[in-house]
Symmetry: C2
Subunit: 375 residues, 2 copies
């Protein structure tokens, strides 16, 4: 760096200015934090899209078993898990990398693709942790609106990618918090249309809930990183494990900077056992589909408009931002944790996890009490 | 960026050049990797300084109990654990941050302090994962030699920090792989002497094994980040959890970029229970001290020179790099996993974890067989 004579550059503090100048922003406030403020635990936890249907008993048994080896670090290559994933997905083992959940792997992907001032493109209103990582690595986020059906607008994303010379395009498919989904073909098509230096980050956190098996038809594209998790359908959010499917250029990059011993061994064992219990996952997905219809009907009966969802959650229109905030607050006072769907264009929406039938019945009582309180 | 007319800047590939141009270097090859190459599991795992004395039964019970809630994300603030840590350490809760082990927190610290081309200083031969993170974030590492007793040379580190305008000085205390230790006063003193923009990263992974309680006397210094783990004395390496003690400037920075939901809830519960079982930790530390003497004596009896250690491992001089490589190979062939102590100046050293008495007896047989094979 050249300095003009006579100009003194003030010494930097110990924290990098890139980090020091970031806003203090947390993507999500945890239910535990709200519980501490309330001084009471929630009765229904329907705000973080956690599974109400539990993990595979085989996954749980494997986790209990593996606790015998807490003293040992986990395998940094998650070899056994990658073997099973390769068989299940048909992807080569070398194109599979395991991390501590999708948030971890999203951060890693942004770190490997976004230089300071580089641009990322995403839908306005989508999963905020992606934006969090982009900002934290010094990137700039450009957003484009959803289409009229609250679906990710592929053409707008493509145009924005070219216009802003984007390094990264992020899509959650199905999307969070709208719950809408695109076909595998639409994704493959978009990947081909993007500039060759641009990476498509394809977050399939909720892909297990797409019953058609639709997403599995997606083929390997050089510039796509697909993200999967054991936190949703597999009900292992508390264990922290997920993976990416990606071409060699990304895997090589990840290997150079990732936390090699970061994935705990209990999660690795549980994930292997969970994959081997395909029946359990199928039962969960079917149960979610049935309950999703019933939760949606209940919301409509109460006068609200849900967005059709392909996931284990439903975002529904309650009118405007202030009604949405009120409803979330009224439910919290009554022991039910849900979240607002986010900022514009979903500021008037509340997002609720599809739980069990029992939770639905209790939720109905609470909703009726909150909205039509007795004398 | 200004471009001269007529000069075309070649378009960058999808991976940032900072990452693309890094070497493919992994700090440690895992025992599982060697087992896959051998086609057989190790009988003795004494290469990663994992505890042979097991976790607290209370920690294990808490982990089993918490597996009921695998579907729920862990508390991103690790509130309960930070409460217990605040009571135990006397540090305010706001100065404690929990992460997925020290490697995770070291990476976070480097990310918050090192701009590309910034300089970090450490002892030549010390824990390689620190260097890995510095390189991965584009920083430059300058190293200074240990002193004649293989102790970290505080004066040399201080001089290098000033000479190279270092942003970060890294010390493991006790050091890994030498096992030597400095007093809390020496650390406090160094922290005060460093430039005000320079951060002292004080890795106390093996601090639990310093029996005098010596390290607890260290006081809060504005420019120090102290790292602690549950992987060693607490025997929870497989669960991935550790924490930092740091002044507000660092905690604020970490909160802006860290993976908020990264710490699994099984680890959080086990860590709380483990801290509450101080008796178990004390018993482990005492057992390690007794066995450390016996392991050292065994190594001396075999003609080698161990470096006096304050940890749960011993590095010992076997002559030169080729003998060290041979010994590690001969032990691996016989089912014993140990590691070389590292590069120069320890290229002629082997590092071995202090295990149980039973493991010591078996190790002795294997060492005698490897070094003095029968006819």
């Amino acid at each position: 760096m050249k300095r003009s004579p006579g100009v003194t550059v003030p010494p930097r503090g110990p924290v990098r200015s890139l980090v020091r100048d970031l806003p203090q922003a947390v993507p999500f406030v945890a239910p535990e934090e709200i519980e501490r403020l309330r001084g009471e635990a929630f009765e229904l936890r329907l705000g973080a899209n956690e599974s109400a249907f539990g993990p595979s008993p085989k996954a749980l048994a494997a986790a209990h078993q593996e606790l015998q080896r807490t003293a040992w670090y986990g395998d940094p290559r998650s070899h056994e898990l990658r073997e099973v994933l390769a068989t299940l997905t048909g992807w080569p083992q070398d194109n599979i990398l395991v991390g501590s959940g999708i948030d971890d792997l999203l951060g890693l992907s942004v770190r490997c693709t976004i230089d300071p001032e580089d641009v990322a493109v995403a839908s306005k209103g989508t999963y905020p942790t992606f934006a969090y990582h982009v900002t934290a690595y010094g990137g700039k986020l450009h957003t484009v609106p959803y289409n009229a059906q609250f679906k990710v607008d592929m053409d707008s994303l493509e145009r924005a990618a070219f216009r802003y010379n984007a390094r990264v395009v992020y899509i959650a498919n199905p999307d969070n918090p709208t719950g809408t989904v695109h076909s595998a073909e639409a994704m493959t098509d978009l990947a081909l249309r993007l500039p060759s230096h641009c990476t498509l980050l394809l977050d399939e956190a909720y892909g297990d809930f797409v019953q058609s098996g639709e997403l599995e038809r997606q083929t390997l594209s050089e510039n796509v990183i697909r993200f999967r998790t054991f936190s949703k359908g597999h009900a292992l959010a508390g264990l922290r494990i997920g993976y990416v499917l990606a071409s060699g250029r990304y895997i090589e990059a990840f290997e150079k900077v990732r936390l090699h011993f970061g994935v705990n061994r209990i999660a690795q064992s549980a994930a292997v056992a969970s994959l081997e219990d395909a029946k359990h996952l199928r039962a969960v997905v079917d149960a979610v589909a049935i309950e999703r219809d019933l939760y949606s009907r209940m919301l409509r009966d109460l006068g609200w408009t849900p967005i059709p969802s392909s996931t284990n959650f439903i975002s529904f229109d309650v009118g405007d931002a202030s009604v949405a905030a009120d409803l979330v607050g009224l439910l919290a006072e009554r022991g039910v944790f849900v979240r607002r769907a986010g900022g514009p264009p979903l500021e008037g929406y509340v997002r609720i996890t599809v739980g069990s039938a029992k939770q639905r019945r209790r939720l109905k009582e609470v909703l009726e009490d909150a909205c039509f309180p007795g004398p």
